[in-house]
């Protein structure tokens, strides 16, 4: 209890010191204890989101991008356990929150849109029922007012004939429509933060364009922050203010969108950008893939997790984990190549 109080005072200090932060994650470590062993899903992840900002988290499957966001909402699945770090959200110290606290927070201050709109809506309740549920739970609106608000929300997310849709079940709607309903549910209480976990991956390109346009539009209208989780560099390029690139449970590089795309400094980021085919180039250039296979998180390598696949791998990379190098105020990257001076000095000292 005392510890909690200490943390709370600390919270106030941090918040007062950095009033411009909505999300602050410090050195988060999280593992899944599976029968096969400990899977280190997150290894020293730190990130922050300012109010009204769009942060993109990019990485391949298993890199820990969803786990980071879910842990912020207390949605870590069963064998997962938070092992260390401090998570702050909107003035709450997330580490000490109980399930009851989370219930008050989810859907109210923070909402989430999942990847697959086919499975994330309840098939036995009507659309109206599912939207009204959130409103009735978090506000003191009565049934009639909740229904009015649900109608308003459906109009906001661009669904035609909202009156009719309220009475329909999820299976009667198309994929794009269902994702719009998910967004409507997420926005019901005007949250400060919306987590969008691969919101367009399951959708067709023309529908993806609609949903992205809608999200950007709503962001402007409601001024909320968004964490956009995706593996598609194209999606983050057009939408995000800042990008964090994750690999093997670590953030390997983070910076503004321009910095990441035009001055990538981590070898993994460079590799990702080089490996996607460019639609708008007439000449046929061979793709430059990242060789090798993703890391096995059961037995992560001792040094830099990307070292086994890196073209510029050095001896030190296999041995020791690199630390963050500050490239600019907003741009940091975890790579020994940027820190050459430091390890050369150390090697000299050793000799």
């Amino acid at each position: 209890m005392k510890k909690k109080q200490n943390k709370e005072t600390e919270a106030r200090e941090i918040i007062s010191a950095k009033p411009d932060r909505l999300v602050d994650i410090y050195h988060e470590r999280l593992s899944f204890f599976t029968p096969a062993g400990e899977v280190k899903a997150l290894n020293d992840v730190s990130l922050s989101v300012k109010p009204g900002e769009i942060l993109g988290i990019v990485g391949e499957s298993g890199s820990g991008k969803s786990v980071t966001a879910y842990s912020l909402m207390g949605l870590t699945a069963y064998p997962g356990k938070l092992l260390g770090g401090d998570l702050w959200f909107n003035g709450h110290y997330v580490n000490d929150m109980t399930e009851r606290d989370f219930c008050k927070m989810r859907g109210n201050e923070v909402s989430i849109i999942f990847q697959d709109p086919m499975t994330s809506l309840n098939p036995v309740y009507t659309i109206g029922n599912q939207i009204e549920e959130v409103i009735r739970l978090h506000t003191d609106k009565n049934r009639k007012q909740a229904k009015a608000r649900a109608l308003e929300l459906l109009e906001l997310v661009g669904i035609n004939e909202p009156e009719k849709r309220l009475k329909q079940y999820p299976h009667e709607l198309s994929g794009g429509m269902r994702q719009r309903v998910m967004i409507a549910i997420g926005l019901a209480c005007e949250p400060k933060l919306l987590i969008a976990d691969e919101p367009t991956t399951a959708l067709d390109v023309t529908i993806q364009a609609q949903i992205l346009e809608l999200m950007m539009d709503l962001k402007k209208k409601l001024d909320m922050a968004i964490i956009l989780i995706t593996h598609d560099l194209g999606v983050v390029a057009g939408t995000c203010d800042r990008i964090a690139v994750m690999y093997a449970g670590q953030i390997v590089e983070s910076g503004t969108t321009e910095e990441i795309f035009y001055h990538p400094s981590h070898e993994y980021t460079k590799g990702l950008i080089a490996s996607i085919p460019k639609l708008h180039e007439e000449e046929h250039t061979r793709l430059v893939p990242i060789e090798g296979t993703p890391v096995d998180l059961l037995n992560p390598p001792k040094g830099c997790p990307f070292a086994p696949r890196c073209v510029n791998c050095m001896k030190v990379c296999l041995d020791r984990q690199p630390a963050f190098t500050e490239i600019s105020d907003t741009h940091i990257s975890k790579c020994w190549l940027l820190d050459k001076a430091k390890w050369e000095a150390e090697r000299k000292a050793e000799n």
Binding site: A209, G234, G238, E258, S275, E282, R286, L287
Partner: protein
């Protein structure tokens, strides 16, 4: 690439009977409706479209995995629409989308690749069979020790390589690649795309490359066909289709691809389509795209647009070609 047609598809139709909303009611889904194209020897033809547009069905019908309802499939000058397929299985192969579901979990990788060799009696002895399997695995970037392992021991990219080795086992000339990379991670996709290109150079393969990702299709294909609700709406050389598309659907498809470059992405003019793809059970009359098309008028509702050649090798089915341009 030669100027010799390896595969020709003429007015191919593939209808499926499905149960309707009411008891005993049967309806017909026109999954592929009157599609014609050809593929030259050594060429890659890309086929793009949204889910449910019939691109996979087209690929499978060409291999006679479904019996075509109507139309002709001509392979190397021979009509194979009703022929016995066994000799052609050696020439035409397929790589499936999902590398997790398309490999038998109880067979070793060696046996998965070797099964085709056994069926077609391509190896005279056990040693020859083993040597051939190892040769195939090394062709796709795996090594001999992988032959004794089971599919679950491999990552997605490696499994897709096994799927490709299996398709190559019979020395085919033509391979249908049915979304071979959409289930893979971004960093792995480029590896597999490069491998498809290398194999084509080495073995002189001809591909029908089916995918929903236009940038990948544009990268790998010589020509691209765009499908919408069971119909081919536009077909042209890859660069021509990306930069000088005519059909409004192709245009929206090209502009909907998010560009991985922040400045270009923000500057790009979007042509975002409204609405959803209609159900193929009950497609709109006339031009099937008219419900989402900004140029649609009465003419589009009444008659189906013709398949016209607007410039050499560039075919479009649209009533309003001049208006769009």
């Amino acid at each position: 690439m030669e100027d010799k047609k390896l595969l020709e598809v003429e007015h191919l139709k593939q209808y499926f009977r499905v149960s309707g909303g009411k008891l005993f009611e049967r309806r017909v889904v026109k999954a592929v409706d009157d599609v014609s194209f050809f593929i030259n020897k050594g060429e890659t033809l890309g086929l793009v479209g949204e889910s449910g547009c019939g691109k996979t069905t087209t690929g499978r019908t060409i291999l006679r995995l479904y019996e075509p309802t109507e139309g002709k499939i001509i392979y190397d000058g021979v009509d194979i629409t009703h022929a016995d397929m066994k000799p052609y299985r050696k020439k035409m192969q397929i790589v499936f989308q999902d590398p997790y579901a398309s490999l038998d979990p109880r067979m070793t990788v060696g046996d998965i690749v070797g099964e085709a060799i056994d069926i077609h009696h391509l190896a005279a002895s056990k040693e020859e069979r083993r040597a051939r399997i190892i040769e195939l695995l090394s062709l796709v970037g795996l090594n001999s020790e992988h032959a004794n392992r089971y599919p679950h021991e491999f990552s997605g990219g490696q499994r897709q390589r096994v799927g490709i080795a299996r398709a190559l086992a019979v020395n085919p000339e033509f391979i249908v690649c049915d979304e071979p990379i959409s289930a893979l991670d971004v960093s792995i996709q480029a590896q597999v795309v490069n491998m498809f290109e290398d194999l084509q150079d080495q073995l002189g393969l001809t591909y029908l490359f089916i995918a929903h990702n236009l940038s990948v299709v544009k990268h790998i294909s010589n020509r691209i066909g765009v499908m919408y609700l069971g119909k081919l709406v536009e077909l042209a050389e890859a660069n021509e289709l990306t930069f000088h598309s005519v059909h409004p659907y192709t245009r929206s498809l090209v502009s909907a691809i998010p560009i991985a470059d922040p400045i270009k992405n923000r500057a790009a003019k979007r042509f975002v389509l409204q609405g959803d793809v209609p159900s193929p059970v009950n497609p709109p009359s006339g031009c099937r795209f008219r419900t989402r098309c900004p140029y649609a008028d009465k003419c589009c509702e009444e008659c189906e647009p013709e398949w016209k050649e607007v410039s050499p090798g560039h075919f479009v089915a649209c009533h309003h070609i001049d208006k769009v341009q």
